[in-house]
């Protein structure tokens, strides 16, 4: 039963699309996009979380040089007027389980608004509406290469594998300044969610865990690879949120998430417990006509499991502030992140304190080309580095990346 829901959704999507394919009126030529993101990397980072280390960067000191940041293929297919299918697959050029794998795959039901209200339904695997930073195609940030600590964690550990409903009141279409949305999600296959932040703490990168992939490579050490999108206890999780927009200038989001995992359950095949994880997330994004953007996000939660009558808990919290200015095809951004994981375990396993500064310049001359230069410095204190790796608990890691992305296809923008 484990890990079959994404496959079930993919099959459901295909079976839904197949009969529609017989009618030219129902199935249109799909919209698609192919992106290739090449990087020149210079990093002095510790062994990366990608390779089983406790480093906070995607690339560590052994990985400086020319890298493939991401190769991405996206497909969007309208099925009739109100249904659509969305697939997003990526290759990350590291030792994942599959060289090309899905990050999102879902069906969307989006009927036309009625009297100022609209209902939307998503079914499949997709991101919950939390990040105010990852707003570009492929859940990328238009501001920086590396996401904030909060959104890196969401990219690593969270995916809604289930259904999400959204009820919109479209005030801006009825002479008001506000749009308001109520959002609710019901999901499974998220029981190990929490294990990465508890074991490795927060990090800052753009590496998104794929639906059939893992965090870490096959020879990850000392932290072994982790598979996240599994159902262990048969209990669905939920989230409920609110989004409000003031014209297109200000967006506020608030969401409560609880995977409702049974903290006593475990799965021997993937060698993990069901981590009971719940958190609150709020965010605000404001934009001006002069090209300024400010984003604030805050997240506070806890993950725990019960092993041999031990109550092990890891409260975590993170926040960031981002300021960005766009002038024509140029964008400059700066972000400050602060994050902490407390540990209620015997050895203090997983405790972490840290902060990070990110500065980025983006040049986007047209819809095909995008050039990004990013400087990222993470300062962190993790006592577990001494125990597990025999290295000092405090570390300052710096990563500089120059990325060139080329995008092709009707969806490229």
């Amino acid at each position: 039963m484990r890990c079959t829901i994404p496959q079930a959704f993919a099959l459901a999507a295909l079976s839904f699309a197949a009969p529609a394919a017989h009618s030219a009126d129902w199935l249109r030529a799909p919209e698609w996009e192919v992106d290739v993101d090449a990087r020149l990397v210079n990093s002095d980072g510790q062994k990366s979380f990608v390779n089983g280390g406790l480093g906070t960067l995607r690339y560590d000191h052994t990985q400086s040089g020319l890298r493939l940041g991401r190769a991405r293929f996206a497909l969007s297919e309208a099925i009739g007027q109100v249904w659509s299918l969305h697939l997003d697959a990526s290759a990350w050029a590291d030792d994942d389980r599959n060289p090309l794998d899905l990050t999102e795959a879902y069906l969307q039901f989006r009927p036309y608004p009625f009297a100022g209200y609209r209902f939307r339904l998503k079914a499949g695997a997709f991101y919950a509406p939390i990040s105010l930073e990852n707003r570009a195609a492929g859940w990328e940030s238009p501001y920086t290469l590396s996401y904030s600590a909060i959104n890196t964690w969401l990219a690593q550990e969270l995916r809604t594998i289930g259904v999400e409903g959204q009820l919109d009141w479209l005030g801006t279409r009825t002479g008001h300044g506000l749009d308001v949305a109520l959002i609710g999600g019901l999901f499974g296959w998220n029981d190990p969610d929490g294990v990465v932040v508890a074991q490795r703490g927060f990090s800052l990168s753009d590496r998104q865990t794929t639906l059939f992939g893992r965090v870490g490579s096959s020879n990850s050490a000392p932290m072994r690879p982790l598979e996240l999108f599994h159902e262990i206890d048969g209990r669905p999780g939920y989230y409920a949120g609110l989004e409000s927009r003031y014209f297109d200038r200000v967006v506020v989001r608030a969401l409560h998430y609880d995977n409702r995992a049974d903290p006593t359950a475990s799965d021997g095949a993937i060698r993990t417990f069901a981590w009971q994880t719940h958190f609150n997330a709020v965010g605000l994004r404001a934009e001006s006509a002069g090209g300024w953007t400010a984003i604030l996000q805050w997240l506070d939660g806890q993950t725990y499991f019960e092993s041999h009558d031990e109550d092990l808990a890891w409260p975590f919290r993170a926040r960031f502030a981002l300021l960005s200015r766009q002038i024509r095809h140029h964008r400059l951004s700066i972000r400050y992140d602060s994050f902490a994981v407390d540990s209620r375990s015997d050895e203090g396993e997983g405790a972490q304190r840290g902060h990070a500064w990110t500065a980025a310049y983006v040049f986007e001359p047209d819809t095909h080309w995008k050039l990004t230069f990013e400087w990222l410095r993470v300062t962190s204190d993790a006592p577990y580095r001494v125990i597990e790796l025999g290295i000092p608990r405090a570390a300052t890691e710096t990563e500089v990346q120059l990325a060139v992305r080329f995008a092709l296809g009707p969806l490229a923008r």
Partner: protein, 217 residues
């Protein structure tokens, strides 16, 4: 500024000719200002006759395109009975909708396919959106007024009118005044009648321009 004066001058010259024939009595000059005294460009002015003599303007065939996930133009003012074509010059599909009382419709715009124009028979405001791209927002003002127009960059608009009494209505997508701003005037034998309208409330923020075509989530 020079252009508006030149156009006004043309109107006056034309008016003099018509007045000699007994058709027009005077020129109406309207100036619209924001609450802080700046000229308001693009404000829509409609002029209805109050004595029941004016007829609605002749219907037109207008175009509202979709370019870079935006409506172009984002505001049309058309007489009742006019049609609007939505050609979709984008590489992606759109789904245009309106649930405004004056015209409710839904129109899928799949790329590479032409769709018949939409006819607007009822006077009123029509707010348009795209069901796929929420940032897309546009307005169609359908009017049964015999005279209408929009202010220029100096916030000015002028028209030649026959002798009579009129109701002038001012509207702009960003004004906060509930309903429309109205003035009643009489045009006699005077050659020019000036009406100044100053908003009492600040404008709503303008849509952010050209920066959100990548907005997906």
């Amino acid at each position: 500024m020079f252009q508006s004066r030149y156009i006004a001058g043309c109107f006056l010259a034309l008016g003099s000719l018509l007045k000699a024939a007994g058709a027009l009595a005077g020129a109406l000059f309207v100036a619209v200002q924001t609450s802080d005294g700046r000229p308001l460009a693009g404000a829509v002015l409609t002029v209805h006759t109050l004595d029941g003599t004016g007829r609605p303007a002749t219907p037109v065939n207008a175009i509202m395109d979709q370019v870079d996930r935006a409506f172009v133009p984002d505001l049309l003012v058309i007489p009742t009975g006019s049609t609007v074509e939505f050609p979709n010059s984008d590489s992606v599909n759109h789904q245009i909708y309106s649930f405004s009382a004056a015209k409710k419709f839904q129109l899928p715009l799949y790329r590479g396919k032409r769709y018949p124009p939409v006819r607007f028979d009822q006077a009123g405001f029509v707010t348009l959106g795209c069901n796929i791209h929420d940032s897309m927002l546009a307005y169609v003002l359908v009017t049964d007024a015999p005279y209408f127009g929009r202010t220029d960059s100096a916030g000015a608009w002028s028209v030649e009118l026959p002798r009579g009494t009129y109701r002038i209505t001012v509207w702009h997508p960003r004004i906060r005044e509930s309903g429309q701003l109205e003035r009643e005037i009489s045009i006699g034998d005077a050659d020019r009648t000036a009406v100044s309208v100053r908003l009492t409330k600040s404008l709503q923020p303008a849509p952010l321009e050209g920066r959100h075509s990548w907005d997906t989530y």
